[in-house]
């Protein structure tokens, strides 16, 4: 019964989405206030019904209702309850429902949190989001119904969730990632609304900025969690593979990074208008393209969903309608004449343009690398696979070129600045960064030039920010008061840039300094890695809720002190018979110690063991967290709050705008 309720709720949600796509948009066209006023209610209604549907599916999973097909294929009675719940999105049908739920959440959030928006704009924005909802809800209902029953012949027990997905990281990774992906639909909807309205002024940029920042922050967190999960769960210490599915999440992030910088220029200076609109379309298109790539089976990937050409066709048609439609609208409505406002070559605008070019080129490069096998195959030129060497060769120099400019930007002035000012203000940070770059890598023998370069560039960013902070604060009567004058937007930028610097140092240091020993070890053996002694004491058999495991027990000693106990496991899951490696990690700010079990060797109790010493690997995830916190922080800026409290005045202004 419950699954049928869920199915029915999903159908109602679809109908509401259809109304939301049509009625307010029609209202905006005919200037019909009654029709436009329906938009927020419909948005909330869509949320209510998608949520109902989601709860019903969750109930089916938690109650082990194996008559429901997705539950039978992805859950098991022995599965711990929290994984029964997260199994909901560990499959194509359920994750699509999560997509729809998050889209409904964003739509309702725009409806409820935007009292300052003129009704005309709000109804267009919600109409666009409703149209996207129609696409995804019909995709779910027509090709991927999560409530499909297995009748008759209900299995006694389920197939179990893929053991790779039975992990705390995977409980929250997909929701966060989708919050990011889908969040870009808000920026997209604002861009389309602006094109429809024919007014591409600074106001649409101001409205969509906080939404874009928040979506970008969620996406950063989501990608970070994915990387962290791969690191400890796949059992061999890798954290990024340039796999098509990873690229699918990374491309919108890169485009989104360009977008949020470009939005700043459009808001503050009224420049790059068409460009920013195009980036907003591009970022969301890449989110949709990612969905297509992951679910259509056109590319092979380690973690693609079960695929089906009918589904692929559906998304492709949807993609063509959304992207093709919006680009047509763009071609017809975007202002073709360049803005009358001008800026000098030495200005903040130019630096942000560098950012835009770098991130756009980066996302196109990743797009090209990801699609290359498909393109060659389609041309009949043979089967290819594109690996990390290509991506690294393009990506690393691009980021290294970007960073010198990134150090100047926070500090630069709009419109026109002078090279002499940059020189005089930044000479000290530049010299200090050079000193850091040369000396800090001395702390870790042997001296590594790549790390030196990374430290140099990151120190340049950090010291440039410090200089800028000092410049802003020094005029105040006290440090505290000076700090208080800084806006949340500014702090957000500082945090995100610091995070980027931390990320760069972490990625380069861990790539260059990591030590990996693969060796045969028996109980009683020990091995020294970079001063850490790993003592292998014993192997014990342990039992988990739905698996049995061999657990190796290690002590790690350094300078005569025991600093960690590590217990990696080799698990055999009972329902599927799949074997999984569970690595044991002693995490630290400056180094991770990592043990994973290989295979037993012979009958004497020896095992193949993989021991890792990974310096500064945490920095890249910490960096991503900083970036995300920075993105969230910008929302607290007073200029958004002021708008909210002065909603009435804004509504009055909006009426004027509508006329």
């Amino acid at each position: 019964m419950i699954p049928e309720v869920g199915h029915f709720a999903l159908i109602i949600a679809f109908c509401l989405a259809l109304l939301l796509a049509l009625v307010p948009t029609w209202g905006a066209w005919r200037r019909n206030v009654a029709a436009m006023s329906l938009a927020p209610g419909l948005a909330v209604g869509m949320l209510v019904f998608v949520t109902t549907s989601f709860i019903c599916l969750a109930a089916a999973f938690l109650q082990d209702d194996f008559s429901v097909k997705v539950v039978a294929s992805n859950s098991n009675s022995l599965l711990p309850p929290i994984y029964k719940f997260s199994a909901l999105w560990g499959n194509h049908e359920g994750s699509l429902l999560l997509w729809a739920l998050i889209l409904a959440l964003w739509t309702a959030a725009v409806a409820l949190l935007s009292p300052q928006l003129p009704l005309l704009v709000l109804s267009r924005v919600l109409g666009v989001m409703g149209a996207i909802g129609v696409g995804f809800l019909s995709f779910s209902l027509l090709t991927s119904n999560p409530f499909e029953r297995l009748l008759p012949g209900i299995p006694a027990d389920g197939n179990d969730l893929n053991p790779l997905l039975q992990d705390p990281g995977l409980i929250i990774h997909p929701p966060l990632l989708y919050m990011g992906y889908v969040g870009f639909s808000v920026a997209f909807a604002f861009a389309i609304a602006a094109l429809l309205g024919g007014r591409l002024d600074a106001s649409w940029a101001r409205w969509s900025r906080p939404w874009t920042n928040v979506a970008w922050a969620f996406l950063s967190l989501g990608i970070m969690l994915g990387s962290w999960w791969a690191y400890y769960e796949l059992g061999w210490g890798g954290w990024w593979f340039w796999d098509p599915v990873e690229n699918a999440s990374f491309m919108p992030w890169l485009a989104g990074t360009a977008l949020l910088h470009s939005l700043a220029v459009t808001e503050k200076r009224g420049l790059f208008k068409s460009w920013t609109v195009l980036l907003a379309i591009f970022a969301f298109s890449l989110s949709l393209l990612g969905t297509f790539l992951v679910r259509s089976g056109v590319l092979t990937s380690v973690h693609a969903f079960a695929t089906d050409p009918a589904r692929g066709m559906f998304i492709l048609v949807f993609l063509a309608l959304v992207v093709g439609g919006s680009l047509t609208l763009y071609a017809l409505r975007a202002p073709a004449v360049s803005s009358r406002v001008s800026f000098g070559w030495i200005s903040r605008e130019s630096l942000l343009l560098v950012n835009n070019v770098a991130f756009l080129v980066a996302s196109l490069t990743v797009l090209f690398g990801t699609l290359f096998p498909l393109i060659m195959d389609a041309l009949g030129a043979g089967k290819y696979s594109v690996g990390p060497p290509y991506f690294n060769a393009v990506f690393v120099p691009l980021m290294a070129l970007l960073m010198p400019f990134m150090g100047i930007a926070p500090f630069s002035r709009w419109k026109s600045d002078s090279a002499a000012r940059w020189r005089s203000e930044l000479a000290v940070p530049a010299a200090a960064a050079l000193l850091c770059g040369v000396t800090l890598p001395l702390l870790h023998a042997p001296y590594n030039l790549w790390v030196a370069l990374a430290v140099l560039l990151s120190a340049w960013l950090v010291l440039g920010l410090a200089r800028d902070l000092w410049r802003k604060v020094r005029g105040a009567s006290s440090l505290r008061q000076g700090m208080r004058r800084l806006t949340p937007s500014y702090w957000g930028m500082v945090l995100a840039h610091l995070g980027f610097a931390a990320c760069v140092v972490g990625v380069v240091a861990t790539s260059q300094y990591s030590i990996e020993h693969d060796l045969k070890m028996g109980p009683g053996d020990s091995e020294v890695l970079s001063g850490y002694e790993f003592r292998f004491n014993e192997v014990a058999a342990v039992r988990g809720p739905n698996y049995v495991a061999d657990e190796a027990r290690f002590e790690v000693w350094r300078d005569g002190k025991r600093i960690a106990l590590l217990a990696p496991q080799k698990r055999r899951y009972l329902a599927s018979g799949q074997v999984m490696t569970e690595a044991a990690i002693d995490a630290g700010l400056f180094r991770d110690l990592y043990v994973a079990m290989g295979e037993p060797i012979g009958d004497s109790g020896d095992w193949a063991m993989r021991l890792h010493y990974k310096p500064m690997v945490r920095w890249m995830w910490l960096g991503a967290i900083f970036m995300a916190v920075g993105g969230f922080a910008t929302v607290f800026d007073r200029r958004y709050r002021r708008q909210r409290s002065g909603a009435r005045a804004a509504a009055a202004r909006g009426a004027q705008y509508a006329g």
């Binding site: 056109v298 092979t300 050409p309 680009l327 389609a378 290819y384």
Partner: protein
């Protein structure tokens, strides 16, 4: 008005991309170019891993067996390895094709993680892989006693793939071989 035309460029590019995506839907990246299914395993003469003594097609043909294309640089091969080990313990014959790899690294891998292979063909240049039409490691080919390729699986072989696809095919070929 040329300025307006410029704005159509993104649309044109997207249309081109959509065309490729559409074409891609009809192609299966996991599918063997049909030319090779039910065709004989290509001829080759390559060194055995770690030795210079050559292996040729004649040395590996004669019984129903799997050919597993792997490499130490391949992520998924790590995931796949324990299961191959289990198959080998059950007596399933597997030949390894060590694809575009470093011999020393490959031998170290086999020493440490175990060796499920009857023998390993060291395809350092990837020439045999090219003849086979290897798309990316890991790939697994099922070759019958007559040396004819009967099936190709792209990606990791795990319990599910084994039970649902490979095992039935394998057992069918083995019983055909025995009755002959």
């Amino acid at each position: 008005m040329p300025a307006r035309l410029k704005l159509f460029l993104p649309l044109v590019l997207f249309a081109l991309l959509a065309l490729f995506l559409f074409r891609g839907l009809g192609l299966d990246p996991r599918e063997l170019p049909s030319a090779l299914i039910d065709r004989p395993l290509p001829e080759f003469s390559l060194p055995r891993l770690g030795e210079e003594e050559p292996v040729s097609r004649a040395d590996v043909v004669g019984r129903t067996a799997f050919f597993n294309v792997w490499a130490t640089w391949c992520v998924s091969c790590r995931v796949e390895h324990p299961f191959l080990q289990q198959l080998a313990e059950r007596g399933v014959p597997i030949y390894g094709v060590n694809y575009k790899d470093d011999d020393v690294a490959a031998e170290r891998w086999l020493d440490q993680l175990g060796d499920p292979y009857l023998l390993n063909i060291a395809d350092r240049q990837g020439s045999f892989g090219l003849d086979l039409g290897v798309y990316g490691a890991p790939e697994t080919y099922l070759v019958d006693a007559g040396g004819v390729i009967r099936y190709r699986h792209v990606g990791v072989v795990d319990e599910r793939v084994w039970q649902e696809t490979l095992q039935p095919l394998y057992e069918e070929l083995v019983s055909a071989e025995e009755t002959r």
